[in-house]
Subunit: 357 residues, 2 copies
């Protein structure tokens, strides 16, 4: 087992290893296990059994699978349920599942009785290296993703790599986008790992790769927990990704949208004078094989991009790379946004052909 | 004008005076003024005009009057509206109205884009000395009041005493409950003021009384912003009050429920060995003239009391007084809860007769 410590005001640890689900024990009498519907009966129950063995009164609540959990109606229903079931300020919420489960469960924990203890058990690669670590929680609105939410740090994270073996191959590959992103932002070795021929749930170096990717995030979050500055770098590729997700009504899942978004951001970075990293983001797209994008005009996407949380009263901002591991935040002119879009679109047919071939 | 400073991590001031609504100016380009429907066209517009004069793009959003604003559906609708109207992380929310307006608007500000700037303009006595100061925000669930919420401090509070002159007399008297409570907790002079023959919106010493009551709260909040300890004292009388409100579907408004709740808590305090302060809380009930309580059994109220946020996994806790200005927090046995209830109920017919007479 490996461990990454987050040195925040209230510090906590991310444990990464095989079979660690069975070891979970918490100092709370009542624990609500909020589990993605797809894993409630498997990992959700495993966690509840471990908690009960440790003396907690643990109960599993099944969430709508995936992103459907992040609805205000689901949030409201859960708050009522926890109240009826008598959870107090001393009780805890544990999320089991992907990023959607931890976002939703974290927002429930952040706001139930103005905040109770929260723990996460990520069961997707994406959640392990991103959503489950760092305390961002939230729900979606019809107007966009994560428009309501709170910062609420978990008090502990258990990333059991055994859970990755049961993920559909496409979902595993989807999650590698956030791993790759952490490589681009701070650690080129991670990018080499992800593009290695044998990379997958059974990759011998997986535990080390996940640890390295979590460490990138942990260090940024510890320096800037409330995203006043450098934490925004973790949104590399996300401005366009969120627009793709919203515009396609989430037909393009988050990790695939981020893969496209990173490739676009690489073009943008190059046009703004940075090293050309588009070969690397293109190689990642070839590995990940995201769903093809529907025909899209930039004009369709701009309103969604303007709702990005990095936008301020002065307009749109993007995370760019001067070179490998050299992120910065910048306003970009409308003509550059358009030229990068043209370059990005030119690459799409070749990618589609490779995916088929 | 008087000013009370809250010495929190991010300090802010409560301004108390006459006509200060017209002086509001904020360093934000976009400002959403969330105003109670009863005052949106009057004080809401006054605030928006002042903000616009200061260079902000201010828009008034009218809330359902009173406690009806604190519904999850209202909360959700406002988040969507702010997103559609293009509010960014640099924008601000200003609440105008009573405690319900600031609770709801504060929760919107706490969670929109994971938190934006918040300011309050309380226009009831209750909100001036309690809800608008201290950063507690929240909405109600069918299961109870304020079960969802967050701590989100305002960055500034403007208490314009001119707004109190337009309150219905009963609403003014309702608000005096929280003023009186702050007197019981920390400053006997406040209790004397409230029970003075001329006390009302035109009482010559009102500005000083409001300042003193705000100061009691400000000092407690500065020492314990997240209610880990002594801040719970501010809930004196509130355990039973919340149960009254919930059980009567809020037919008994908050300030009147608190007046009853304080009288009950005075009986409880005496039974637990404290000075008998029930004459004082009874005198306050005679002054305030709350609506009569419907016939109630203690058994009906206990489930609501158990949902109180002070409850923990060990059971019910109450704020009690050893004597004037000597609050403490204690578990109370079921028999004492019952004996205090009997004593409390004995006082009710006499109070009702006085109110009629």
């Amino acid at each position: 087992m490996r461990q990454v410590d987050l040195n925040l005001e209230v510090p906590y640890s991310v444990r990464i290893g095989h079979g660690i689900l069975h070891e979970i024990s918490l100092p709370h009498r009542k624990v609500a296990v909020l589990a993605d519907g797809a894993v409630a009966e498997t990992y959700g129950n495993t966690v509840a059994v471990a908690l009960s063995a440790g003396g907690s009164d643990a109960r599993v609540y099944s969430l709508p699978p995936g992103e459907d959990a992040k609805a205000v109606s689901v949030y409201e229903g859960l708050l009522s349920t926890l109240a009826r079931d008598g959870l107090t300020r001393d009780s805890a919420v544990v999320s089991v599942g992907g990023g959607a489960a931890s976002d939703l469960a974290g927002f429930v924990a952040a706001t139930y009785l103005r905040g109770i203890a929260f723990y996460t058990v990520p069961t997707t690669l994406l959640a392990m290296v991103d959503a489950a670590v760092g305390g961002k929680t939230g729900v979606n609105l019809p107007e966009g993703k994560n428009l309501a939410g709170a910062f609420h740090q978990p008090r502990g994270v258990w990333a059991d790599l055994d859970t990755l073996a049961t993920l559909p191959d496409r979902v595993f590959r989807e999650g590698t986008a956030e791993v790759f992103k952490h490589g681009l932002l701070a650690n080129p070795g991670i990018c080499r790992d992800v593009l290695a021929p044998l990379f997958g749930p059974n990759y011998p170096g997986l535990e080390a790769t996940v640890e390295a990717a979590v460490r990138v995030k942990a260090e940024v979050v510890a320096r800037d927990p409330f995203e006043k500055g450098e934490r925004a770098y973790l949104n590399f590729g996300h401005t366009l990704a969120h627009a793709f997700e919203a515009f396609t009504h989430r037909e393009i899942p988050h990790g695939e949208a981020v893969a496209y978004g990173m490739h676009y951001a690489a073009h943008l970075s190059y046009l703004e004078g940075g090293t050309d990293l588009s070969n690397l983001t293109r190689a990642f797209l070839t590995y990940q094989r995201p769903r093809p994008l529907p025909p899209l005009d930039l004009a369709d996407l701009l309103p969604y991009m303007a709702r990005d949380k990095k936008a301020d009263d002065e307009g749109l901002r993007f995370v760019l790379l001067r070179g490998m591991a050299q992120p910065y935040l910048a306003r970009v002119g409308a003509d550059t946004i358009e030229r990068a879009w043209t370059a990005f679109q030119k690459d799409l047919p070749a990618l589609a052909a490779e995916a088929v071939g």
